[in-house]
């Protein structure tokens, strides 16, 4: 064992020498936690869309969509609870975009050079959650816009 210990003592070690960075780029929020939270935030909207697709595109009525719509109609009757559906379907994905965006981005401003720098870390899970949340918001907002036009013009 002494020989082995001497071998370890004699072993050459990489220096690992670097200059201290001029700045430390720290994410504003933890990336892994943001991704996990983001997945929870999009769970209900994804489930809602899944029910919609099953009923209207695949014509498979599992009763899930009807149950959900009934629940949402009941909630709409309550002046406070009527905000729950928009919060779940749009608000939470928006929050998911925010926290995952903050986990990926670092911002710095150099006043002497008048440069504003944004650097983005490539963490694929956070990017996937961010894009999924964005897609969900676009789908729901698109639906609201189309329904609004339909209601106003009666053309569709």
């Amino acid at each position: 064992m002494e020989d082995f210990e001497k071998k370890l003592d004699r072993m050459t070690i990489p220096s690992g020498s670097v200059k201290p960075p001029l700045e430390i780029k720290l994410a504003i929020v933890n990336a892994q936690r943001s991704a996990v939270l983001g997945i929870w935030f999009v769970a209900v909207p994804c489930y809602f869309l899944f029910c919609v697709f099953m009923k209207y595109y695949f014509h498979i009525n599992l009763g899930l969509f009807d149950t959900m719509v009934e629940m949402m109609s009941d909630l709409d009757k309550n002046p406070i609870m009527k905000w729950l559906s928009p919060i779940l379907l749009v608000g939470l994905p928006l929050l998911g975009i925010t926290i995952n965006g903050l986990a990926l981005c670092h911002f710095s401003y150099k006043p002497e050079e008048k440069i504003f720098l944004i650097s983005i870390r490539l963490r694929w899970l956070n990017i996937a959650v961010l894009l999924l949340s964005l897609a969900l918001i676009c789908i729901f907002m698109g639906y609201v816009v189309v329904e609004s036009i339909h209601h106003n013009t009666g053309l569709l």
Binding site: F4, S15, G16, P20, P21, I24, L26
Partner: protein, 184 residues
């Protein structure tokens, strides 16, 4: 050398946090080098070193001068961060494999390239470190501090906040386990 003795610098930092930069500039190289030699991954070492100094910065006001040097205190934080990483992620040899095989990285960073080239030139170290990473963290830390950082038992005891006798015992058992792994 630090411009002020450690205790004086600590008092200055506790009054004016901007003085922390002096500490950061002086100790970053050593801490990064230690973390890099333990994790053998440039980006991970940068993250852990950053986290170490962030935690040190946040805790510095409550730091009490009890004779433990700032260096030992920083090494202690860095050790805990590295151990946490190993406990959460479980050592994955693919990272080491990718460094050994000379896989190119997409982002140009001369420091990264130089360090990874340097790592490739130390094959014996890489092979030993590959086995060290499979050991329990309490053996990893004493072996790394003793043989990679050149610390003696007294310094290791100060860093890990354990009695010297315990350090001796852990080293002895750790070296034996490592010897068996290296001879397989």
């Amino acid at each position: 050398m630090l411009p002020d003795p450690e205790q004086e610098l600590l008092q200055k930092i506790q009054v004016d946090p901007k003085q922390f930069g002096v500490l950061f500039d002086y100790y970053y190289k050593g801490i990064f080098g230690y973390v890099f030699r333990r994790v053998t991954d440039y980006d991970l070492a940068r993250d852990i070193a950053s986290e170490t100094f962030l935690k040190a910065f946040l805790k510095i006001k409550s730091f009490q001068w009890k004779g433990i040097s700032i260096s030992s205190w920083l090494y202690r934080i860095a050790t805990n961060e590295v151990n946490q990483f190993f406990r959460k992620n479980r050592y994955k040899p693919e990272k080491l494999g990718s460094i050994i095989s000379g896989e190119k990285f997409l982002i140009h960073d001369s420091s990264r390239e130089e360090l990874e080239e340097e790592l490739r030139r130390h094959q014996e170290f890489l092979q030993v470190q590959q086995h060290v990473k499979t050991l329990d963290t309490r053996y990893q830390e004493v072996i790394a501090l003793r043989f990679f950082e050149g610390k003696d038992n007294r310094q290791i005891a100060e860093i890990l906040n354990k009695p010297e006798g315990t350090i001796k015992s852990l080293l002895s058992r750790g070296i034996e386990k490592l010897r068996i792994l290296c001879n397989q």
